[in-house]
Amino acid sequence: MLSALRAAQNRDGGWGYAGGSSWTEPTVYALLALRAEPGSSQAVERGLAWLRGARRQDGGWAPHPAVDQSTWVTALVALLPPESTWDAPAQALEWLLRQTGSESAVAGRLRSWLLGGRPDYERRHAGWPWFPGAASWIAPTALTILALQKLQRRSADRRIEERVEAARKFLMSRVCRDGGWNHGASRALGYETDSYPETTGMALLALDGVAFPGLSKALARAGRHLEQCRSAQASSWLELGLLAHGKPAPQPKGPGGLCRSTMDTALCLLAEKALRGNNLFLG
């Protein structure tokens, strides 16, 4: 898988989702997976150079060079460890702290109050949106928590502590009836919804070290998801989430999933590393 990942690197140094031009998201996951692997130093250096060149003036990163807007992928860049010549996480920090889901901002809460009705969620806890100006959702919130926790471990910052605490509450407020997480709408118009494997794994990973009332149920749900999972990427997130809470990942009973893309391959490698005690999202 390592050699397949190296072979998928574009000439400009980045990675595409499944071939094609370079995008920030698959580039970061490929770099995380290849970093410190023998024979990968050149590929990593070229990848980092691509990312360095993609930083925007506002301090964030766009998902693709054709997109003139910094988005949630900035959190992914902040997951990379600082290099001797480039401290990507520190550069991403201020942009990340400026972002919040529109529903928890004052204007969003006022809008909700004016529209009346009973909101499906507690709106006080701020998470992160996929795209500025939209609401908070599970995946960007979970990934930003992981990025900020890495920064917090390097140097304590009260602002980070407050945002991470609020974001964890956001995750806990969006647990589905079955104990896991979906994209972030555990209720819609008062109707309960069910969880997805991939977001359940991500949320559990971001809640590493947090004991909350629904944890046992969430872990049990993640285990059941994994047994029946038909996606390599989703299985990897579930393994990473379960391992973060010290739970061995059960063997899938279903057909499993094929690695069809850069993301699938990189996340499989990252889950394997976590299985060997090196969870790069937490270290």
Binding site: W23, P63, E198, A234, R260
Partner: protein, 318 residues
């Protein structure tokens, strides 16, 4: 109910000044909509879809066709996704009519594992060489497109090259109720063109910019359009995800998505005049039954009222 925008107010005043009625369409120029009875997902669909395209005299020779089904969830036992047999029938029909290329593409709104999802929905098994003809629109190359006279708050959208480059976009939705907008049909299906890799899963920026308005904007951005709605078994109740199967036994098709959607609404027992995005997209009274040339089955003969959750009752036909 949404407040009237300045555009809607001006449009309404203009219509009143003209006596509350648009000029009558020239006889024969009304949008043509087919209703085809199809009791199940059988091999008959291959012939039915081909005849349907011939009925609409679509000249697709040498053209690049993009089929856009609705893929939402993994569970193959639900009726949430456009049935693979209908999509394959369309692929074969367009090929047999001389299209130079027929691609399938989709960008699901909630789940980002599109190929795994298509696999679970039976697309790999049923469509030979599926991966070679399929594009995940969530992860496709993108280009910024300025929206001409947008209805929504958006001024531009990044859109997938595969969709922008095709000669004919064929929207192939499932006939479903939708808890936010009333019904999800050919026009709402275009949300799947908006790339998740840019806007996320869900593509929530479209909700904040106005769901109805964004549907109308996408409709205007992709004018070369044909629609084939899978109403063989649709979804009623709390659609588009948590509803229950509703056999309606029809395929509805045509070149004018607003007219197709309005016809579907009438079959489902919904009032198309109450669906805001249809009114926004309307250019020649397509939501009025008398302004559509219906062929095949009559609406009365296939009318199958869909169950509505209490929050959606406002959209029901009175």
């Amino acid at each position: 109910m949404p407040l009237l925008s300045r555009r809607e107010t001006l449009t309404g005043l203009g219509a009143l000044a003209l006596g509350g009625c648009s000029p009558q369409p020239r006889p024969g120029s009304e949008p043509l909509v087919s209703i085809l009875r199809a009791p199940g997902y059988t091999q008959d669909l291959y012939d039915s879809v081909r005849r349907l395209l011939l009925e609409h005299r679509l000249d697709v020779r040498g053209k690049r066709i993009l089929l856009k089904p609705n893929l939402v969830e993994f569970d193959p036992s639900t009726t949430i996704n456009t049935h693979v047999l209908l999509v394959h029938a369309a692929l074969e029909a367009f090929r047999s009519l001389g299209a130079s290329a027929v691609q399938i593409a989709e960008g699901p709104g909630h789940r980002r594992l599109t190929l795994d999802l298509a696999d679970a929905a039976g697309y790999f098994e049923t469509i030979p060489g599926f991966e070679g003809v399929f594009t995940d629109l969530n992860l496709d190359e993108v280009r910024q497109v300025k929206l001409a006279r947008p209805f929504s708050k958006l001024r531009s959208l990044f859109l997938p090259q595969t969709a922008l480059a095709c000669d004919l976009l064929v929207s192939m939705p499932k006939m479903k109720t939708h808890h936010w907008v009333g019904a999800t049909l050919a026009m709402k299906n275009l949300f799947g063109l908006v790339p998740g890799a840019v806007y996320g899963w869900p593509k929530n920026i479209l909700h904040w910019a106005g769901i109805h308005e964004c549907i109308a904007d996408l409709h205007r951005t992709f004018p070369s359009h044909f629609s084939i709605v899978d109403g063989i078994v649709g979804m009623e109740g709390n659609g588009p995800v948590q509803g229950t199967p509703k056999p309606a036994g029809v395929i509805v098709a045509g070149r004018d998505p607003a007219a197709v959607d309005a016809t579907c609404c009438r079959i489902m027992g919904l009032d198309p005049a109450k669906i805001h995005y249809l009114k926004l997209a309307e250019t020649r009274d397509q939501t009025r039954e008398e302004c559509v040339r219906q062929i095949g089955e009559a609406i009365a003969g296939v009318r199958t009222p869909f169950d509505l959750i209490p929050q959606l009752r406002w959209v029901g036909a009175s």
